[in-house]
């Protein structure tokens, strides 16, 4: 399953050094991204990626181990982002 950011929906990210705000132009929503969501979104902005390497990328960025707990957390983050149409699957 390849994940991507729908190209029509502009995303603006803003951080003042603590957390990250995301403005989703299509829905007009402003969200505060959790620490694991930030590298996920940033990575997908560079191009589509499958779920497994994506999760591994996030883990590497944050120095986490890819264990069951991490994967189930990431699944939750991903489903939240997909529900809001920030990330889509094809």
């Amino acid at each position: 399953m390849s994940l991507y950011i729908p190209p029509d929906f502009e995303l603006i990210l803003k951080s003042y050094g603590n957390e990250t705000l995301l403005f989703h132009s299509a829905s007009g929503d402003t969200l505060l991204l959790g620490p694991t969501a930030v590298p996920l979104v940033q990575r997908l902005r560079q191009g589509p990626l499958d779920k497994q390497p994506l999760f591994e990328h996030v883990a590497e960025q944050l120095n986490y181990e890819v264990d069951d707990e991490f994967i189930s957390h990431m699944e939750e983050v991903l489903s939240g982002l997909m529900k809001r149409d920030i990330v889509a699957a094809q």
């Binding site: 132009s25 299509a26 829905s27 007009g28 149409d85």
Partner: protein
Amino acid sequence: MSDQSYLLLEVIRAPERLARLSMADWNRLIPQARHALLLGKLHALILEQDLLKVLPEKPLNHTLSAYLASEKQHATTAWEALKLERALGSLEIPLVLLKGGAYIQAKLPVSTGRLLSDIDILVTRDRLDEVEENLHSRGWRSSKQDSYDDRYYREWMHEIPPLKHITRGSFLDVHHTILPPTAKYKPDAEKILADIREVSPNVYTLSPVDMVIHSATHLFHEGDFDHGLRDIIDLHGLLIHFSDNEPGFWEALVPRAIELDLINPLYYALHYCQLILGSEIPDFVLKQAEKGKPNALMSGVMDWLFMRALRPDHPSCDLPFTSLARSLLYIRSHYLRMPLHLLIPHLTRKAWKRRVAENKQEATAGLP
């Protein structure tokens, strides 16, 4: 038209006048445009005429303000259309947008700066229950809690009670035909749906001729003249656009209206577009449309009613008897869509409901 009260109309007909307005003129124009829901449209006209740098800043703040609101509505409409396409797509039903939503998604020039209050879609009657159920599961709920209202809509109207989304707060009207089943004219929704145009994957609008006929029908049979001038401007904009971009449009227009049993509202639309906005309509079309012209007496009465009702709802441009004209129209359109014995109790009920639930807010409401 030298009557000062027609300033909004004068400016719409001759936008070059904008550069020559006095402050007193602006003080009349802005409230007129606000009440006609045409402030955003006025701004679009100013942009089109490239007058932004020439005109005084203070009145422009008002047109800009409304224009920004309309841009937000356009973005919201696009987003809602996407959500609706998913809902209907899951049932393998095409999303057919009507009115403002259709103008926006089809990127018609008439949509620029235009405000809308809800999104209207058309679904065949036999799939209505499925659609309603699916929309319900996606957060669309009936905004009519009153069972009388609910029953009234379901029995006598061409749409189900308006839906409101529980988180996004947007309004949706689901139509299953374009006139109530009890109306005098009986257009066939199937014929209209057979001719829809795809504007993006699985998103459709009516065909150009049907769009014009529907807009005309809506204006001249709904009794909703609050935005009469805006609606006639929409019609004018559609005619101009399709005339320039849609080969065969004029040839198809009247025959289609006759086929749909809607020649009468089309006659009015063409007649008043020409009269009020000076729309250029080919002679042969006007001649064909004469079929929908009422007798001389009725024509005279209609002219009297419509010319008064098609004004911004503002005291500075009311002729005597305007409010009488509006209420006569309201009764007339109800008469057109309901048998008489149904008409009386409903009007009484409506008047009573208005008294008990006046739609006003506390003076401090409007906080974020």
